[in-house]
C-alpha cells in the first residue's frame, strides 16, 4: 500500500512538472482523481479491503497524500491561471478617456431654481415655513391690505398688469401679497418665507424684465424690534453666502413697513474696499426691510398693540444673475438650451 501511494505521489508530481497549460492539468486531474478510474481514487477504494490497524494506518496515510496532492494541484492551477492573464493589460486594454456611447445627455435645473433652493434651505433651517401663492391676485392683497392706497404710483397701469374685465385683479407686482394671506393661514407666532414670480409692466432690456422672482420673509411675534430685524437678516445672509456678512441699514420707504429700511451688505468681493462690483462704495444694496406696519397687522386681523413683525424682501433674479455673472436677464426666460445646459 505504502508503495502504491509513494508511486502515485511520485508520478503525480512528475506529471505536474510537465504540465504547461490548463488542459494538461485537467488531464492529469482525470488520471489521478477521476471518480471512476483515477489512480488515487482506486487506491482509496482499495483501502476498503484492508482491515483493523492496517486500515486505520493506511487510511490516515492515504488521506495525507491525497491532501498533499490536491494542494499541489491547486497551486499549479493558480499559477497557470495567473500566467494566462499576464498580458491582460495589452490584450484587453481600452481607451479610458472615451465616454460611454451613445452618450447619455445630462439634464439641468434652471439657475433661478438653484438659487431658490439655497434660499429655501437656509430659511427652512431657520424655522421658516416656505410657501408660494397666487400670482394673479386681487388689488386687496396686493395693495390695499399692505397700506398702499389708491393714490400710490405702484397702482398705476404703468407699473402693474391688470386683468381685462376684472379691474380689481392684477398680476402681483411683489410677493408681498402673501403677507396677509400667510398670517391668516397659519396664525401667530409665525415665520414664513415665500419666494415667487412677480410682474411689473415695464420695457425689457439687458437688466430689466417684466417677469422676475422675489424672495420675501415675514416674522410675526411679540416685541419684535429693529435689532431683531438686523439679527435675523444677517443670519440668513450668512447662511446664504456661507460666511459671516456685515450689513448696514439706511432709510428706505415701503408702505407696508414702518420704519422701513434698505439694507446694504459689505461687498464680499472687495470686503468693503471698493471695487467694480459694488460701484466702488464697498457696499452692495441687498434688500428692503422693516417692521410690519400696524395697518398690515390690522388687515390680517391682529392687534398691533399685542403683535409686531418684521419683513424683508430681495430680488432672487438679481441674486442668480450676480451669482452666475449672467449678463442679460432675458436669457433666463429664453428657453435657450445653449444657456440652460450650462447649469
Amino acid at each position: 500500500m505504502q508503495e502504491t501511494l509513494d508511486k502515485i505521489k511520485k508520478e503525480f508530481i512528475k506529471g505536474l512538472d510537465e504540465v504547461k497549460e490548463v488542459l494538461q492539468l485537467e488531464e492529469l486531474e482525470q488520471k489521478f482523481f477521476s471518480r471512476k478510474s483515477g489512480e488515487m481514487t482506486e487506491a482509496m477504494k482499495s483501502l476498503k479491503k484492508l482491515s483493523g490497524d492496517a486500515k486505520a494506518e493506511f487510511g490516515k496515510l492515504a488521506n495525507e497524500v491525497k491532501k498533499e496532492l490536491e494542494d499541489l494541484y491547486g497551486k499549479k492551477k493558480n499559477e497557470l491561471e495567473k500566467n494566462k492573464m499576464g498580458d491582460l493589460a495589452d490584450s484587453e486594454s481600452i481607451d479610458v478617456t472615451q465616454p460611454n456611447l451613445p452618450k447619455k445627455e445630462n439634464g439641468s435645473l434652471h439657475p433661478e431654481t438653484l438659487v431658490l433652493r439655497e434660499m429655501e434651505e437656509v430659511s427652512r433651517n431657520m424655522g421658516f415655513i416656505v410657501e408660494d401663492g397666487p400670482e394673479l391676485d386681487s388689488d386687496y392683497f396686493s395693495f390695499e391690505a399692505l397700506n398702499i392706497p389708491d393714490s400710490h404710483p405702484a397702482r398705476d397701469s404703468q407699473d402693474t398688469f391688470y386683468i381685462k374685465g376684472h379691474p380689481n385683479w392684477c398680476m402681483r407686482p411683489h410677493v408681498s401679497n402673501m403677507q396677509v394671506r400667510m398670517i391668516q393661514k397659519y396664525g401667530t407666532p409665525l415665520r414664513v418665507a415665500y419666494p415667487g414670480r412677480t410682474f411689473r409692466n415695464e420695457a425689457t432690456d439687458a437688466s430689466h424684465d417684466h417677469t422676475f422672482y422675489q424672495f420675501e420673509a415675514l416674522v410675526i411675534d411679540k416685541d419684535i424690534n429693529v435689532g431683531n430685524l438686523i439679527g435675523i437678516i444677517k443670519e440668513l445672509l450668512s447662511g446664504l453666502y456661507k460666511k459671516d456678512v456685515e450689513v448696514r441699514l439706511r432709510p428706505g420707504y415701503f408702505p407696508f413697513v414702518e420704519p422701513g429700511f434698505e439694507m446694504d451688505m459689505k461687498c464680499l468681493i472687495c470686503e468693503g474696499q471698493g471695487c467694480g462690483a459694488c460701484g466702488h462704495s464697498g457696499w452692495v444694496e441687498t434688500l428692503g426691510c422693516g417692521l410690519v406696519h400696524p395697518k398690515v397687522l390690522e388687515a390680517a386681523g391682529l392687534d398691533p398693540k399685542e403683535w409686531s413683525g418684521l419683513a424683508f424682501g430681495m430680488g432672487l433674479t438679481r441674486l442668480a444673475m450676480q451669482k452666475y455673472r449672467i449678463e442679460d436677464i432675458r436669457h433666463l426666460q429664453s428657453g435657450d438650451l445653449r444657456f440652460l445646459k450650462q447649469f
Binding site: 439634464g107 424655522g127 415655513i129 398688469f161 386683468i163 415665520r191 429693529v226 435689532g227 432709510p251
Partner: protein, 824 residues
C-alpha cells in the same frame, strides 16, 4: 434731484472740517439715497484764462488761425479754428495736459503738443461745450470759442476759480424720497442736515407783500378737492432780462438752464422751497370782456375734448379729470403740470401774475402720466405738498422780483383762496414704545431733542409725549407713533442699534408638501431622465388660438400687456414650451425640456379674492410640463410617458395612462394621447402634438408633451412605503409571446393576467413588434406582436414545474379566450 452743497450752506453753518463726501454718506445713511457726488470743475485742471495777443492766418489752412496766447507767465503758439477769435479776447486756454472733449462729444482726451497742418500748437482755445460748460455758456455759432472777456479774472487764473465753480452737487435718488414732500427743495433738505449735525437752521422769513390796488385779481376755485389753495399776485414794471450770475449759477448747479429773470425766479423757488410756481404774462390773461385792469382766475376741470397747448408747443386733448387754470375765455395752464403757450413770459412782458398754489397729488399725477408730461412741478405736487408753503413761496418770489427788477411794483392785493386742513396730531408717544420698537435704551431728553430738531413740537405730560407734526410732514408722511419711531431711530443712527437675535420656539416649520413634490420631480427629471428645466413667461400669444384651436373665451386677458403679441395668461405650459422646442431644434438634434409653473384657469374658481368679498380668483394650479422632440424619433410619446412613470413609481399610488382621442382644441394627436390617471383621478395628460399643428408651428420632428397638475397630484400621492418582505421561495419566470389585435392595450392585458391566479406575481412587457416595421410581412394587417415575462411564485413552497405549467396554460387560455390572441 440735484442738490447743491453751497445752497445748503446758505441755510446751515456746516463746519469746515466736514467734507462733501461725508455729508453725502450721512444723508444716505439717515435721510435719502445719494447716488453721486460731483465736484464742479473737477475736469478743468490745466485750463486757464488766456489773453489772445496776436491773431494771424494759418499759412496752409484757410479756416485756421495762428494765435499767441498769454497765460499769465508766457506766450504760447496755439492753432485755433474759432470763428470769433480776436486780439485781446479772454479765452479758455487748454494747456498741454488739459482734458477736453473734441467738439463737445465723446470721452475726455488729454491735450498733447501737436502739429496742425505743419504748424506746432501748444494747447487749445476751447469752446464751452469742449470743457463741459455748454449749459453755462450755450453755443451760438458752430465754431465759436468761449469768450471770457467780460470776466474780471487775470490771465493764468484757473477757469474753475475764474467762474467760481466751487460747488459740489449731489445726485439724490428720487425714489428714496417719494414719501418726503418736504425734501424736494434745498430748504427742507437743509433742515435735515441741521438736525443731523445738530446745527441751527437759518430761518426763512421773507417780508410780507405790500399790496397794490391798480390791478384786481379774483380767484374762483371750482373744485376745492383738486385745488386746496390758490394764491396769486400781480407785479408791474417788470423788465425781462437774464438773471444775475448768482441766480444763474444756482440753477446751473442743479441742472436747470437759466431762461430769464422771471422764469428763473419761479425755478429758484421750486428748488429752494420745493414749491412749484408759475408766472403768467398778465397782458395775456385779460379777456375782451374784462375792461378794467385785472383778471378773474378760475381753477376748473377741463371740458371733455378741450384742447390745450402747453409751453412746449404740444397740443393736448383734455378730459374732465384734468384741472386747468383759466380765465373766463380760455385755459392758461394745466394745473400743477405746465403753463400754457398763450400766456408765457416773453421778452416784452411788463406785468406778471405769480401763481403759488396747491394741487391734489393723485390728480396731478394722473394728468401728467396720461398726457406724458412729467415736469419738476408735477413730480413735486404728486408727493402731497404742504399748502402752507404757498404763502412762503409767494413772498420770497415777490421779494426776489423786486430785487431783480428795480422798477417793479406789486399792483394787486394777494389773492388767497384756500380750503385745506392737515392732521398735525398730536400723536401720543411713550418712551417705552420707542425703545421697545428700536431695541435700544434712549433717554427721554434725547428723543425730545431729535424730534424738535426736525420741527416737531413736543409736550411732555406724565410720561407720555404729545408730538405735534409740523405742517410739512403732516400731508401724508407722518400720522402714527411708528412713524415717529423711524424719525428718532434714523437721526439716532441705525448703525448704533445693537443686533439681537430674538428667542424663538424650536418647533420645526410645517412642511410644504407641494414644494417638496415639486423639488423631487425636478430632481428626477433632471438627474434621471436628462430633461432641462426652462422658465417661460406667463403670457402667451393670440396665435395659439388659431394654431391650437383654443377657445379665446377660456383665456384670461391682460388689460395692459407689455407687448401686444402676448396679451393672454397661459392656461397651459405647452404653448410656450413648443416655441422653445421650435427654436432649440435649430441648434440641437434633441430637445428635452420641462417646466414647473402656475397657470391660470378662467373657468374654475381658486382662492378668495379679498377678506370682505365672496369673489374667488381663478384657479391657479402649479403645473408640470414636459416636451420632447428628437431627430429620428418617430414615437416621442414613450420618452415622456416613461418619464412620467419614472416619477410616479417614486410614490405610493396606482396610476395608469388611458387613451383619449378627444381633447379641447385641435392640437393633440388623436391616436397618441392619454390621460394620466392616479388613484382613479385624472391629474393630467400626455400626448403627441398633431402633425398639422406641428407643421403650423414649424417643427419638423414629432413632438410629445405632458401636462400634470401638481395640485391634483399631491392629493393622490403619498411617500413611498411599499416594501414587501423577501420571499424565501424561488420565483420562476416564463415568457409568452403572441399576435393580438392592434387596439388591445398593455393595460388591458396586464390587468387581466394579474388576476389569472394568485401565484402570478409579476407581468412585464418586454417586446412589442411594430407591424408597420414588419418588412417580411409576417404579421397580419391590424395585428401586433407582444411578449411578456410572467413571474410565478408561491409564498408557501417551492413551485414545481408541473404546477407552473398548469397555471401558465391557464394564463395562455385566458389570452386566447379573452383577447383572441395567436400564441407564437
Amino acid at each position: 434731484m440735484l442738490l447743491s452743497y453751497n445752497w445748503i450752506k446758505n441755510y446751515v453753518d456746516l463746519p469746515d472740517s466736514l467734507t462733501p463726501e461725508e455729508l453725502g454718506l450721512k444723508l444716505t445713511m439717515s435721510t435719502v439715497e445719494v447716488e453721486g457726488v460731483e465736484k464742479q470743475g473737477k475736469d478743468l485742471e490745466n485750463i486757464v484764462v488766456g489773453i489772445v495777443k496776436k491773431v494771424e492766418k494759418h499759412p496752409d489752412a484757410d479756416k485756421l488761425q495762428l494765435c499767441r496766447v498769454y497765460d499769465g507767465t508766457e506766450d504760447w503758439q496755439v492753432v485755433c479754428g474759432g470763428s470769433n477769435v480776436v486780439k485781446n479776447m479772454k479765452v479758455a486756454l487748454g494747456r498741454i495736459g488739459a482734458k477736453v472733449k473734441w467738439h463737445g462729444e465723446g470721452d475726455l482726451i488729454e491735450l498733447t503738443k501737436a502739429k496742425i497742418r505743419g504748424v506746432e500748437s501748444f494747447g487749445m482755445i476751447c469752446a464751452s461745450s469742449e470743457i463741459g460748460l455748454g449749459d453755462m455758456f450755450p453755443l451760438e455759432g458752430e465754431k465759436e470759442i468761449l469768450d471770457l472777456s467780460s470776466i474780471e479774472a487775470k490771465a493764468g487764473t484757473t477757469i474753475a476759480k475764474a467762474l467760481e465753480l466751487d460747488d459740489v452737487v449731489y445726485d439724490i435718488d428720487n425714489k428714496s424720497m417719494t414719501h418726503r414732500p418736504d425734501l424736494w427743495g434745498h430748504y427742507g433738505m437743509s433742515r435735515e442736515v441741521a438736525a443731523l449735525y445738530n446745527k441751527k437752521l437759518v430761518s426763512y422769513n421773507p417780508p410780507a407783500i405790500k399790496p397794490g390796488k391798480e390791478f384786481k385779481i379774483k380767484v374762483d376755485i371750482k373744485d376745492t378737492k383738486l385745488c386746496p389753495r390758490y394764491m396769486a399776485v400781480a407785479i408791474d414794471g417788470i423788465k425781462v432780462e437774464p438773471s444775475p450770475d448768482w441766480l444763474q449759477k444756482k440753477l446751473l448747479a442743479v441742472g436747470l438752464n437759466p431762461i430769464n429773470n422771471i422764469v428763473d425766479i419761479t425755478n429758484y423757488i421750486l428748488f429752494d422751497l420745493g414749491q412749484p410756481m408759475h408766472a403768467f404774462d398778465a397782458a395775456h390773461l385779460k379777456g375782451k370782456k374784462n375792461k378794467e385792469k385785472g383778471v378773474n382766475i378760475l381753477a376748473r376741470r377741463a371740458e371733455v375734448g378741450e384742447k390745450f397747448v402747453t409751453l412746449d408747443e404740444k397740443e393736448h386733448d383734455l378730459t374732465n379729470e384734468d384741472l386747468v387754470i383759466a380765465t373766463e375765455e380760455k385755459a392758461v395752464a394745466l394745473a400743477g403740470v405746465m403753463g400754457g403757450l398763450n400766456s408765457e413770459i416773453k421778452n416784452d412782458t411788463t406785468t406778471i401774475v405769480f401763481e403759488s398754489a396747491n394741487f391734489d397729488a393723485l390728480n396731478t399725477r394722473r394728468t401728467a402720466t396720461r398726457l406724458g408730461i412729467r415736469t419738476d412741478s408735477s413730480s413735486r405736487f404728486e408727493k402731497s405738498l404742504d399748502a402752507n408753503n404757498c404763502e412762503l413761496a409767494l413772498k420770497r418770489a415777490v421779494e426776489l422780483t423786486l430785487e431783480l427788477c428795480p422798477n417793479a411794483k406789486v399792483v394787486s392785493s394777494v389773492a388767497d383762496e384756500s380750503n385745506f386742513s392737515l392732521n398735525q396730531g398730536p400723536i401720543e408717544l411713550s418712551l417705552e414704545f420707542i425703545n421697545k420698537k428700536i431695541g435700544v435704551e434712549l433717554e427721554k431728553k434725547q428723543v425730545v431733542k431729535i424730534l424738535e430738531s426736525l420741527g416737531f413740537d413736543v409736550k411732555d405730560k406724565k410720561d407720555i409725549l404729545f408730538v405735534t407734526v409740523p405742517t410739512w410732514r403732516a400731508t401724508k408722511d407722518i400720522s402714527i407713533a411708528e412713524d415717529l419711531v423711524e424719525e428718532v431711530a434714523r437721526i439716532y443712527g441705525y448703525g448704533n442699534i445693537e443686533t439681537v437675535l430674538p428667542t424663538f420656539s424650536i418647533t420645526p416649520p410645517e412642511r410644504n408638501e407641494l414644494k417638496t413634490l415639486e423639488n423631487k420631480i425636478k430632481d428626477i427629471l433632471s438627474l434621471e431622465f436628462g430633461f432641462n428645466e426652462v422658465y417661460n413667461y406667463s403670457f402667451i400669444s393670440p396665435k395659439w388660438i388659431e394654431i391650437a384651436g383654443l377657445d379665446e373665451d377660456s383665456l384670461i386677458e391682460l388689460d395692459n400687456p407689455v407687448a401686444k403679441d402676448r396679451p393672454y395668461l397661459r392656461r397651459s405650459l405647452w404653448p410656450n414650451m413648443l416655441e422653445n422646442v421650435e427654436k432649440n431644434l435649430h441648434e440641437f438634434d434633441s430637445v428635452k425640456i420641462f417646466e414647473v409653473g402656475q397657470v391660470f384657469d378662467k373657468n374654475n374658481p381658486g382662492v378668495r379674492a379679498a377678506d370682505n368679498s365672496d369673489e374667488l380668483l381663478p384657479r391657479q394650479d402649479l403645473m408640470l410640463g414636459l416636451a420632447f422632440a428628437s431627430k429620428g424619433v418617430g414615437k416621442p410619446f414613450y420618452e415622456v410617458s416613461s418619464a412620467i412613470s419614472g416619477i410616479l413609481d417614486n410614490f405610493n399610488c396606482d396610476y395608469e395612462l388611458k387613451a383619449k382621442s378627444e381633447m379641447e382644441g385641435e392640437f393633440i394627436h388623436p391616436g397618441r394621447t392619454a390621460e394620466v390617471i392616479v388613484n382613479g383621478e385624472v391629474v393630467g395628460a400626455v400626448g403627441e402634438i398633431h402633425p398639422v399643428t406641428l407643421y403650423k408651428i414649424g417643427i419638423d420632428e414629432r413632438t410629445a408633451v405632458v401636462e400634470i397638475s401638481l395640485n391634483k397630484l399631491i392629493e393622490q400621492v403619498a411617500e413611498k412605503n411599499n416594501y414587501k418582505k423577501l420571499s424565501v421561495y424561488p420565483a420562476v419566470e416564463r415568457d409568452v409571446a403572441f399576435l393580438v389585435d392592434k387596439k388591445v392595450t398593455n393595460t388591458e392585458i396586464s390587468e387581466k393576467l394579474k388576476n389569472v391566479d394568485e401565484l402570478v406575481k409579476g407581468i412585464e412587457l418586454f417586446d412589442v413588434y411594430d407591424p408597420s416595421a414588419d418588412a417580411q410581412g409576417k404579421i397580419p394587417e391590424g395585428k401586433k406582436s407582444m411578449a411578456y415575462h410572467i413571474t410565478y411564485r408561491s409564498d408557501e413552497k417551492t413551485l414545481e414545474s408541473k404546477e407552473i405549467d398548469k397555471i401558465h396554460e391557464k394564463l395562455t387560455k385566458v389570452l386566447v379566450d379573452d383577447f383572441d390572441v395567436e400564441i407564437r
